[in-house]
C-alpha cells in the first residue's frame, strides 16, 4: 500500500509541485519502485518538453540513468534467492 501511495504521489507531484521537489521525491521512492524515475522523467518530457527550450529531452535521460543506477544498487544489496 505504501508503494502505491508513494508512486501515486510522485506522479501527481509532476503537475502540482516544483520539479525540484518531484526529483527529490523520486529519489526516495526509486528504492521502492526502481522504474519510477524512468516513468516520471519521460512523463515530465511528454508534458513539458519544448524543442526551443532544450536541445534534447533531458529528464527522460536523467530518469533512465537514475533507474539504471537504482537497479544496480538494488542488485548489489539483494541476496540471490536461486541457490544451485
Amino acid at each position: 500500500m505504501i508503494r502505491s501511495i508513494s508512486v501515486t504521489a510522485a506522479l501527481i507531484s509532476m503537475v502540482v509541485f516544483p520539479w525540484q521537489f518531484t526529483a527529490l521525491l523520486v529519489v526516495f521512492v526509486a528504492f521502492v519502485e526502481p522504474f519510477l524515475p524512468m516513468i516520471v522523467g519521460v512523463g515530465m518530457d511528454i508534458i513539458y518538453y519544448a524543442p526551443h527550450a532544450s536541445s534534447w529531452p533531458q529528464w527522460s535521460l536523467y530518469g533512465f540513468g537514475m533507474a539504471l543506477a537504482v537497479l544496480f544498487v538494488r542488485s548489489r544489496l539483494q541476496t540471490s534467492s536461486m541457490r544451485g
Binding site: V15, I47, Y49, A50, A53, S54
Partner: protein
C-alpha cells in the same frame, strides 16, 4: 488423488505482475498518443488538473499564512499600500508628460491590442523555461508573437500554436540569446538564457555595472525587462559575469498578453548547444 501440475510456470514473473506491466504499458502508450497525436485534446483534458493544482497551492499558502505574525503582515500590507499609491501618482505624472509630448510632437503609433491568455503550466512545475497558455489559433495567436507579463514586461515568444492552447518559450530558456541595453548609460549587452528564470551576460569591467541596474529589451521602443541581481567578478578576467532576473515573477504568472510586435529579439545561441 491425481495431482495437477501447471506445465507452463514462469519462476521470475507472475501472471499478476505481467498483467500490471501490460496495463501500465497500455496506459503509457495511450498517454503518449494523446499528447502527440491530439495535443489540443490532451491540453483540454489536463488543463483542469493544472488549475486544480494551482488552486490547492493558493489554498495551502493562505492556510500557512494564517499562522503568520499578524502584526508583521499588517505592517507589510500597509507598506505595500503606500508604495502602490506612490506608483499610481508617478504613473499619472508620467502619463501627463506623455500627453504633453504627444501634443508637441504628434501622436505615436497606436499599440495593437493584445490577446489575454491564462497560464496553464509554468515554471517551477515545468523543468523547462516554457509556459502553456490557454489561447491558440482560434483566438488569433500566431507563431512569433511576443508574450508580456505584468506591467508590460516582455517575457517570451510563442513557439507552438494549437487550436486552443499555445506554448511560450521564455527568454530565459537555455540556448536563447537576445540583445538589450543595461543601466543608465544604455550599454549594449547580449543576454543568454541560463534557465531557472534567469539570464546571464558578460560585460567588460570598464562598463561599470552594479546590482540593481535595469535591463531593457527592444520591442517597440525600450522595455524594462529585468534587473541585475549579482555581479561575479574574477580579478584575472577583463570581464564580469552578470546574473539577471526578469522584472516579472515568472513563477507566479497567471495571465500573459500575447501581441505581434514585429520584433524578433531572440536568436538561438548555437555555441551553447551541447
Amino acid at each position: 488423488m491425481k495431482r495437477i501440475f501447471l506445465a507452463k510456470r514462469n519462476a521470475l514473473l507472475s501472471s499478476k505482475s505481467a498483467f500490471r506491466a501490460v496495463l501500465a504499458g497500455f496506459v503509457f502508450v495511450m498517454f503518449v498518443a494523446l499528447r502527440f497525436l491530439t495535443p489540443n485534446f490532451f491540453w483540454q483534458a489536463t488543463a483542469p488538473i493544472f488549475r486544480t493544482a494551482d488552486a490547492s497551492v493558493i489554498a495551502v499558502h493562505s492556510f500557512l499564512n494564517s499562522f503568520g505574525n499578524t502584526v508583521a503582515l499588517s505592517a507589510e500590507r500597509d507598506s505595500q499600500r503606500e508604495q502602490n499609491l506612490t506608483l499610481v501618482q508617478e504613473n499619472k505624472t508620467l502619463l501627463a508628460k506623455v500627453e504633453n509630448l504627444t501634443a508637441l510632437i504628434g501622436e505615436a503609433p497606436e499599440e495593437k491590442p493584445g490577446i489575454v491568455a491564462g497560464v496553464v503550466a509554468r515554471p517551477p512545475e515545468s523543468p523547462y523555461d516554457t509556459l502553456v497558455v490557454a489561447a491558440g489559433s482560434s483566438s488569433g495567436v500566431a507563431l512569433g508573437m511576443e508574450a508580456f507579463g505584468n506591467g508590460g514586461v516582455p517575457i517570451g515568444i510563442v513557439s507552438e500554436v494549437l487550436m486552443d492552447f499555445s506554448r511560450v518559450t521564455l527568454f530565459t530558456a537555455p540556448g536563447i540569446s537576445m540583445n538589450g541595453w543595461i543601466g543608465k548609460a544604455n550599454t549594449a549587452v547580449t543576454l543568454v538564457g541560463a534557465g531557472g528564470g534567469t539570464w546571464q551576460a558578460t560585460m567588460a569591467k570598464a562598463a561599470v555595472v552594479v546590482i540593481g541596474d535595469t535591463i531593457f529589451l527592444p520591442g517597440p521602443g525600450a522595455r524594462a525587462a529585468g534587473n541585475v541581481v549579482r555581479v561575479d567578478s574574477d580579478p584575472l578576467s577583463p570581464s564580469d559575469t552578470l546574473r539577471i532576473e526578469p522584472a516579472s515573477n515568472l513563477f507566479a504568472l497567471t495571465v500573459v498578453i500575447l501581441r505581434a510586435t514585429g520584433v524578433t529579439p531572440i536568436s538561438f545561441a548555437t555555441s551553447t548547444h551541447p
